[in-house]
Symmetry: C2
Subunit: 237 residues, 2 copies
């Protein structure tokens, strides 16, 4: 039994990828929930306070929503709680103050779209899915890895801080650079944007509000990555 | 009648795209020339000093080779000389000191490969192909644009300096950033490189020697683009 809380691109794709299993869903936006239901990503919708006994609960909202779920001392009836946020240290720290059987998660997957309409059952196929355990709750990694494999992804266990430093370099800073290149190109002839430019700046076109949140939670690591990049670039120029 | 001088990725693709026209070819590397001939990109190979009367001559080597061809006072028997170098101001300046009926050219096209093996008849389909005329030789733009259209590309006429400033932002700096991101990621877990990272850094995997040449000829504009980018990034962080 799976409960997906947050039916955007990632949550709805998880539902689609687990077709055949019993899946419940909830989203604060009823329109998103309806799309996920209509697309068959969930078998039925539940209310915000639903916490079915023995369920695997996937927290699939943006980081702010995930953090809001992790109230200190919170207990749950589920057997496993897994999130999908792109930043892990603040989430794992917050989860440690709950009583939830929680494992941090982060799939390296996405596409050019957003929302449940853009969801895809094969979004996770062959992708890395990081698992960052809460200290003392490492026994939950194996059931979480089992879920990850059912999505078609490859579980990779990593310390939350190491994860955040790594993705600062491979994902968050690249996003910032893509955004900056798009800004820089605004006053240049559009025809000067060749195929390489389009590929490079594609991540810069993903939702700005979500990225602002992600950067806000991983600013120190991204700034450190930026300082390292500056040194490399100035060496190349 | 077309003579392609330089049978790497771009020169061989030009030959392939012009199938049906009479095409001669030359390359300083006999192995490259043989591949281009075997693939049908040229009808026959000629010697380095061939300069057939009335031919359209495409200078398709790296910038250093193109510049070496543009000796001051050089005359030619061809009706049109067009290059394909990624930097235009130094090449157009050098061409102005020749007597050649020359137009600068730069196709925004490429793929992940290099050399004649990676050539593709459809490489230019729908792509921008910049034409940067030599002052006083603007009448040659139209025949050059005609050739560009036969390649399937869209001719865009631009001043050489404007071209170099634009591609510094949309191509040369992105390449530098891609290289730097690859360097930065070297000491991170490889699994942290998701699909966005792969797309973003693809240009950074193209031939380093060619790029060193390109950057060397457009350093001022790339440095200016880098300063502008730094300001935008520091605003985002």
């Amino acid at each position: 039994l799976i409960l997906v809380r947050g039916l955007g691109l990632i949550g709805t794709s998880i539902g689609l990828a687990l077709a055949g299993e019993e899946r419940l869903g909830w989203d604060p936006n009823p329109a998103h929930a309806e799309v996920a239901l209509r697309r068959g990503a969930v078998d039925r919708l539940v209310t915000e306070d639903a916490d079915p006994s023995g369920a695997t609960v996937v927290l699939a909202g943006p980081p702010s929503a995930i953090l809001a779920e992790l109230r200190p001392g919170r207990r749950g009836a589920g057997r496993l709680y897994l999130d999908v946020g792109s930043v892990k240290a603040p989430i794992v720290a917050r989860a440690a103050a709950t009583e939830l059987p929680f494992v941090g998660g982060h799939p390296l997957a996405g596409n050019e779209g957003s929302g449940p309409e853009a969801a895809d059952a094969t979004l996770f196929a062959g992708r890395t899915f990081f698992l960052t355990p809460v200290s003392g709750r490492e026994a939950l990694v194996e059931p979480a890895a089992d879920l990850v494999r059912r999505l078609g992804a490859r579980p990779v266990v990593l310390d939350a801080a190491q994860h955040d430093a790594a993705v600062a370099r491979t994902s968050h800073l690249p996003y910032v650079l893509a955004r900056a290149l798009l800004t820089l190109a605004e006053d240049q002839p559009r025809v000067a944007q060749g195929p390489a430019f389009a590929a490079l700046t594609r991540p810069g076109r993903s939702p700005a509000a979500l990225w602002a949140e992600i950067l806000g939670h991983n600013r120190a690591a991204v700034r450190e990555a930026w300082e390292a990049l500056k040194a490399v670039v100035e060496d190349l120029l």
